[in-house]
């Protein structure tokens, strides 16, 4: 079904799902929604599969017109969505009538909002995923005038309107440090460099996209390198470039690289990182592997409770 026409594409809007897994050995990043939790919730509100393709829109400016009656949801960042002449609901399913206009007016909190539609958006699966990966020529950012198609959905499956209770909504303006696991090349830095890394505040520089955050802040003292013989880059790797500043690698990052990695961001923090933007500040806090696994397990349980609640 024709779902929307794009009247304005905003700063960057792409189609994403949970990503393209297991292809790093072919030099293909995992891609997928930068805030996976909000993405999944947007789908759950519509009784979609977790992985149904949705729009990821960044900052502000996206404007859509419904081409049919569409049941949909918005989750993630608060980008001040308006439905015609009133604020649109967030974290809840709602309906747009043919001709209705949805517009994201102004970023209020977070950076990326997810717009899901019942059935999910219909774009071809490439290498097992519908996620856009711009550099790899898999999809492209959406442009003005494009028509978005949604996949068939059984309307009887969704009679009641689902809403995520307030207490389950993620905190997008959390000020806690980002928890990291040290290594694998933390031995390329002096003890003083490690100390700088763990006790300084870094500001996300304007050079920031789905591939990486560059940061500004105190230089980390390097003992050797920081060039290494190129090796694999895991999701959330914090590499340090020649200027001593940490660079955090995100979902569209290259699969391999030649800078020493001082730490890896704990998995549980990645959704939160996906909502950060230039000018935001970051502090890093070291945790051990067991703690990281405990946190990840708790997060999985929390999402499972949300699933139970919404089904």
């Amino acid at each position: 079904m024709k779902a929307f026409k794009i009247l304005s594409a905003g700063v960057q809007t792409t189609i994403q799902d949970l990503g393209r897994h297991g292809l790093m050995k072919y030099g293909i990043p995992i891609s997928g929604a930068m805030d996976q939790r909000s993405f999944v919730i947007a789908n759950l509100l519509l009784r979609n599969l977790d992985n149904a393709a949705a729009l990821e829109t960044t900052f502000q400016g996206l404007k859509l017109q419904a081409l049919n009656k569409v049941t949909m949801s918005i989750a993630g960042a608060d980008l001040d969505p308006w439905l015609n002449d009133r604020p649109a609901p967030q974290w809840t399913a709602f309906t747009m009538e043919e001709g209705d206009v949805l517009q994201f007016k102004k970023r209020k909190k977070g950076l990326r909002a997810y717009v899901a539609v019942q059935g999910g958006f219909d774009v071809p699966e490439v290498l097992g995923s519908r996620s856009t990966y711009i550099r790899g020529r898999i999809g492209a950012p959406l442009g003005v005038g494009e028509t978005l198609i949604s996949r068939p959905f059984d309307p009887e499956a969704a009679e009641d309107v689902l809403t995520l209770p307030r207490e389950y909504r993620p905190h997008l303006d959390r000020a806690d440090p980002i928890r990291v696991l040290m290594g694998p090349q933390d031995d390329y830095f002096t003890p003083r460099g490690i100390d700088t890394f763990l006790n300084s505040t870094y500001r996300i520089s304007p050079q920031c996209d789905r591939q990486a955050f560059r940061t500004e802040g105190p230089a980390i003292e390097i003992a050797k390198g920081p060039d290494i013989i190129s090796d694999p880059i895991p999701l959330g790797a914090v590499q340090v470039t020649g200027d001593g500043r940490p660079v955090i690698l995100l979902r569209d990052a290259q699969a391999t690289g030649g800078y020493a990695k001082i730490a890896i961001v704990a998995r549980v923090e990645m959704d939160f990182l996906g909502q950060m933007m230039p000018g935001d500040t970051i502090r890093f806090q070291r945790i051990d592997r067991q703690k990281a696994l405990d946190l990840l397990y708790e997060e999985t349980q929390r999402l499972n409770r949300i699933k139970d609640l919404l089904t």
């Binding site: 297991g22 292809l23 790093m24 050995k25 072919y26 030099g27 293909i28 990043p29 490439v126 290498l127 097992g128 550099r135 790899g136 020529r137 898999i138 696991l181 290594g183 694998p184 013989i229 190129s230 090796d231 694999p232 895991p234 999701l235 959330g236 290259q254 699969a255 391999t256 690289g257 890896i264 704990a266 998995r267 592997r289 990281a292 696994l293 990840l296 397990y297």
Partner: protein, 241 residues
């Protein structure tokens, strides 16, 4: 023997990095490829993926299914009989390439730097067979080694922000064929129109670590005609020199 390699260390929650000797050589890379192959063939429970680079292997696993010590055990088990692991036979991709001046922005500079004439540079580069160490970076970029000593020119001091996909070039001992338009600091002397990366196919490239690549010189017209053909049409079995 008192050998510290391979070193095995946990990375993040769900991966283990195995490193062989700290050097770029086919001998060390072969160990990494053998380990990766052995782990993939072993179908170990909980193991989710294996990535090879020059001298390292990253092993991904599901930490809620299997613990890191168990994965470490699998790695040690495979490493113990590494020498017996038979890798797939290497293949040679002969990818027609035009070295016409329009496609080689760095040809004259390479010639100047090495003391060869441009024709000698082309002759030397295009007759060489380059081993594939691994696939990585973006879009299945094949990391090639084996650039002849006399041709080894350093990277550009300022990388270009745009180099067209299909460009063929090198820096120091490394060579590559850019799969898509990219920034790069390599010296580019030619262009192929054969798609080395195609995300609509699985796998997105036919090239595997351990294969070999040659970029024989053809006319621009022949290079364009070759570009209408599939990468698989340019592969042959590789006879060790």
């Amino acid at each position: 023997m008192d050998d510290i390699y391979p070193t095995i260390r946990e990375v993040g929650e769900d991966s283990i990095l195995v490193e062989y000797e700290e050097e770029v050589s086919l001998e060390v890379n072969r160990k990494a490829r053998q380990l990766a192959f052995g782990l993939e063939e072993g179908l170990f429970p909980g193991l989710e993926g294996v990535i090879v680079t020059y001298r390292s292997v990253m092993v991904y696993f599901d930490p809620f299914r299997v613990d890191a010590d168990t994965i470490r055990g699998f790695i040690e088990e495979v490493n113990a009989t590494l020498g017996e692991i038979e890798l797939p036979s290497p293949r040679l991709f002969r990818i027609p390439t035009t070295y016409s001046p329009a496609y080689g922005p760095d040809l004259d500079r390479v010639a100047e730097h090495t003391g060869f004439t441009p024709d000698e540079v082309i002759q030397l580069f295009s007759s060489q067979v380059y081993p594939v160490y691994f696939l990585g970076f973006i879009c299945s970029l094949a990391y090639l080694g084996g650039v002849p000593e006399g041709l080894r020119v350093p990277r550009l001091s300022t990388p270009r922000s745009f180099v067209p996909g299909g460009s063929v070039g090198f820096a120091a001992a490394q060579a590559n064929i850019l799969p898509v338009d990219s920034p790069s600091g390599f010296n580019y002397i030619g262009r192929t129109f054969v798609a080395v990366y195609d995300p609509k196919q699985f796998p997105p490239t036919l090239i595997r670590p351990g294969d070999y690549i040659q970029c024989p010189a053809v006319s621009e017209k022949e290079a364009r005609l070759a570009g209408e053909r599939h990468l698989g049409e340019f592969v042959e079995s590789f006879q060790n020199p």
